[in-house]
Symmetry: C2
């Protein structure tokens, strides 16, 4: 009599009910609200209402609110990473690749301001470990892809000052600073963002790299 007790056999029963659709529906609704209203505007209850389900139901499919928004952000960052990989493959001067990547990065930020803020402007103190590892590794992979051409430039001896890592970090930080200010202080009277991006790229690249 092999008594089967408490065995958590996975998918002994097919997930037939449309429960497996819910997850996608939730993500879809959450993304809309998050894009429109930001992190604090994307409330559990609001998302649940949009899906037409009780707020408790979200916890069937996600551990907590952060997991929902992190999953959305993950998708977005993956698109950015794909962009970087594509640019990395282009057979042009490493400086040109660096510039293309940074342009793509800034455009991505301005196109996805709420995602950008969540990923790159928050301290992530309230984000649990596995979520951090997921997202940080993804962000780090972006940074690594970006670092490659910078290291190539360094290997050519064209770095004016600092190590390759420092140069990569400074290039990233400079562009991050520009887009984060444009995003968080939109009402300030900025010069045109295109102009600022160009001056930032020209300035940093000319300042850090010899030609």
């Amino acid at each position: 009599m092999t008594v089967v007790l408490k065995k958590p056999q996975k998918s002994a029963r097919k997930p037939k009910g449309d429960g497996h659709l819910r997850r996608g529906e939730i993500l879809e609704a959450a993304e809309k609200i998050f894009i429109a209203e930001g992190y604090s505007g994307a409330t559990i209850r609001k998302i649940a209402d949009a899906v037409g389900v009780s707020s408790t139901a979200l916890y069937m499919h996600f551990r907590d609110k952060d997991q929902i928004l992190m999953e959305i952000s993950n998708d977005a960052i993956e698109r950015l990473l794909a962009l970087n990989i594509q640019i990395a493959a282009q057979p042009v001067d490493p400086v040109a690749r660096v510039r293309l990547m940074l342009e793509a990065y800034m455009t991505f930020a301005l196109d996805n301001p709420n995602t950008y803020q969540l990923v790159f402007c928050s301290t992530g103190e309230h984000i649990s470990q596995d979520k951090i590892s997921d997202l940080l590794s993804l962000g780090d992979r972006c940074f690594e892809k970006f670092s490659e051409p910078v290291h190539q430039i360094a290997a050519q001896g064209r770095l004016r000052s600092g190590s390759a890592v420092e140069a990569a970090e400074v290039l990233w930080a400079g562009c991050h600073g520009l887009v984060s200010l444009l995003i968080t202080k939109p009402s300030r009277g900025w010069s045109s963002s295109e102009g600022l991006m160009k001056v930032m790229l020209d300035g940093l690249l000319h300042g850090l790299v010899t030609d």
Copy 2:
């Protein structure tokens, strides 16, 4: 019979009760907690407990939570402005003044990370208008003071690309990006912050200014 009705005569009655001390006590307690635990950690209840008073009492002296933290931040930004004014008076090359101001700016940010985040990294959507005007004008006055030497550089025809305003904004944004990343992502394996600050300044100044 000069009937005195509803006349809000100021200090008709001496503020005898230690009520006029409360405001200072609240700010002091709030600043400690805010510095230690950040914006979300500095709750009304926690501040009130620290002062030894009910949470409602804070609303006797401040309109809302933001006003308390804004007042604290205002003080801090005023110190930064004073620093800028002091540097502006130094009879050295404008490029040297720019560098000194940006160094002071970044040092200030790293020394006051929570204040810095509140003022320079938040969208300020939940901040009412008068508070914004106060703080924005203060921040803008900092930026204006910083812009002066940049305009001098431009007047000397030493700007490699972009207008003076663009150059000032890019210099600011670059330094902001560096310190904001160092503050919000402290666990990432950064190069030394001093090295990064130097590379950022060298890079931007060399890239934007001819000598």
